[in-house]
């Protein structure tokens, strides 16, 4: 077990800069999730920590030791790959024992460690099988087992669940969570699935174009997104973003249609400032009292069972998503008066997209 520090790490492929300076210190035993869209550089960053990719600039420190120039084999880490990367010509037992044999662990110790991992992962019955004789979920578990038996300083995961079907993914996600609670090994986990990020992470690092947009606990990232990008990326369906202006008194935000939404904390210094206004679909409610709110035209209603998503349109033509719990109470062509819950407004700078702190 150890800390993993990433200090101003950069990566260039020729003229292309894939990672543009990322800083984060992962605590001992912490589970950090790297979350971001495809191509943002998550795998690249992870592979630099693993030593599979050279580091263009900055430092990677594992357990207090700068590892920039160390081979992967000397970094005392274990990695779980997206395609599992099991050794196809070895039995499940040998797959898990390989790293231990190389490190000269004695035979009895190897057997006891593999047996223990096999028990945790319910692989006992498969130890003599080849990977090709296993299902996807079982292979996944062997890959986890191979990492566990090593008892490394840190675990690295590169989208380990993305090759599984939805049900198995949920099941394995819970298993990983349980393992992490039990073993408490420092982990760096790459995914583009926000549910995985929200459920597994102690902290999330949201990445975009090789830059860390925000680092925080899952709830912080959801409740106080640091930028428009994070706001749009986290939450499903995504946050509504509208063009708005702070009213002259600084007490509220003026919508394009003229409606005024009160701010939880007035910002007189920003009077008349144009802003991007973010409201999560689940924080909009149908306004029963018919107070002053924009009438929204309902274009499509998706009933998901537990809740309902309404695709609406504001008078000025802007789309607006509303998520309500329970079954639909409106239909296409209806006009609804909706209002945000108090304190549910997010303001962002129009130019930089950064959050305006309240």
């Amino acid at each position: 077990m150890a800390t993993v520090e990433i200090k101003n790490v950069r990566k260039s492929y020729g003229p292309v800069e894939a990672i543009k300076g990322i800083d984060i210190a992962i605590q001992d035993g912490e589970f950090l999730v790297l979350l971001g869209p495809s191509g943002c550089g998550k795998s690249t960053l992870l592979r630099m920590v693993a030593g599979l990719e050279s580091i263009t600039g900055g430092q990677v420190v594992i357990g207090g030791r700068v590892v920039n120039d160390l081979e992967p084999k000397d970094r005392d880490i274990a990695m779980v790959f997206q395609n599992y990367a099991l050794y196809p010509h070895m039995s499940v037992f040998d797959n898990m024992a390989y790293g231990l044999k190389i490190r000269g662990v004695d035979k009895a110790e190897i057997e006891s460690r593999v047996a223990k991992a096999a028990e945790i992962l319910e692989l006992g019955r498969f130890l003599t099988r080849r990977p090709s004789q296993l299902s996807g979920g079982q292979r996944q578990r062997v890959a986890m087992g191979r990492a566990i038996v090593r008892e490394p300083a840190a675990f690295l995961f590169d989208e380990p669940l993305s090759n599984l079907d939805a049900k198995l993914r949920t099941q394995m996600r819970i298993e990983i969570k349980r393992l992490q609670d039990r073993l408490g090994i420092t982990s760096l986990y790459v995914t583009h699935d926000q549910v995985e990020a929200m459920t597994l992470a102690d902290r999330v690092l949201v990445m975009n174009h090789g830059v860390a947009e925000q680092i925080g606990t899952p709830l912080e990232v959801y409740q106080r997104p640091a930028s428009l990008f994070v706001a749009g990326f986290i939450g499903s369906p995504p946050m509504n973003v509208l063009d708005a202006v702070i009213d002259p008194s600084g007490q509220g935000v003026m919508m394009p249609g003229g409606a005024l939404l009160p701010l939880a904390r007035p910002r007189p210094s920003d009077a008349n400032r144009p802003v991007k206004l973010g409201i999560r679909p689940e924080h909009l409610a149908i306004n029963e009292d018919g107070l002053d709110t924009s009438p929204v035209l309902v274009e499509l209603v998706e009933a998901l069972g537990a809740d309902t998503v309404v695709y609406g349109r504001l008078p000025d033509g802007e789309p607006l998503l509303i998520r309500m719990s329970g079954l639909p109470s409106c239909k296409e062509g209806d006009r609804l008066a909706v209002a945000p819950q108090p304190g549910a407004l997010h303001l962002f700078d129009t130019a930089t997209g950064r959050r305006l702190e309240d």
Binding site: E71, P72, K73, F81, L86, Y87, H89, G99, I102
Partner: protein
Amino acid sequence: MQRRVIFDNKLLPYLLLAPQVAVTLIFFIWPASQAVWQSVHIQDAFGLRSEFVWFENFTAILTDPNYVSTLRITAVFSLSVAVLSMAVALLLAALADAKIKGAAVYKTLLIWPYALAPAVAAVLWMFIFNPEIGSLGRLLNAMGYNWDYRLNGDQALTMVILAASWKQVSYNFIFFLAGLQAIPRSVLEAANIDGAGPVRRFWTITFPLLSPTTFFLLVVDMVYAFCETFGTIHALTHGGPGKATETLIFRVYQDGVVNNDLGASSAQSVLLMVILIVLTTIQFRFVERKVHYS
């Protein structure tokens, strides 16, 4: 979706197969049966009469002490050619698989020897090994090593092994390179993270995963060494000095064409055929068990 083509004409499929069947009949089945027929006959010196003699030709060959020595030479030659050409090809392929500058040029150059006619290749080797005009031959003699493959049988055998292997390296190289490139990079990365250095990765991961290719090439290279090295040996040593480089295939030619003993020559080619069949069967039975097919 698969679609099956259905011909109304019952004759057409046979017509389409006919050329291949004809080639097989004319160039393989017919000469082979001729050889079998001749192997149980003795012809007079002018080829006018032939007499059915049962297995006399075979007993004559198998009791000939020279033939045993030919077998030994063939075994040494074939095994050396197969192992040497595969080892060199694997080394070159492993290097080509690594990220190097100019890899494309390097790969193309490695394939050239395959396109060279055996006689031309033999002349090139002569320019290297000839004790009077060959670069390496002269160097060896100048350094005090007594090099003359025209007098020393072991030296001659070494030289034909080198020449025959060299020609087969290209072929093996292509297959090994394709085999290496088919190994998922992440598996090797996983081994690296598990603590294996480059040499260990090669022997515990790469080599076992290459085993289907290695096995295939072993079979192909043995057949090559047995049957297709005639040109190389003929051009370089003529089977000499003495009979030091006379392999089975060369002796078939020697007895049949040069000594005009068609019966003995045919019996030898039948034996050669049997040996190859047995050898290949053994390879499939015993070596293939160790092969991992994914």
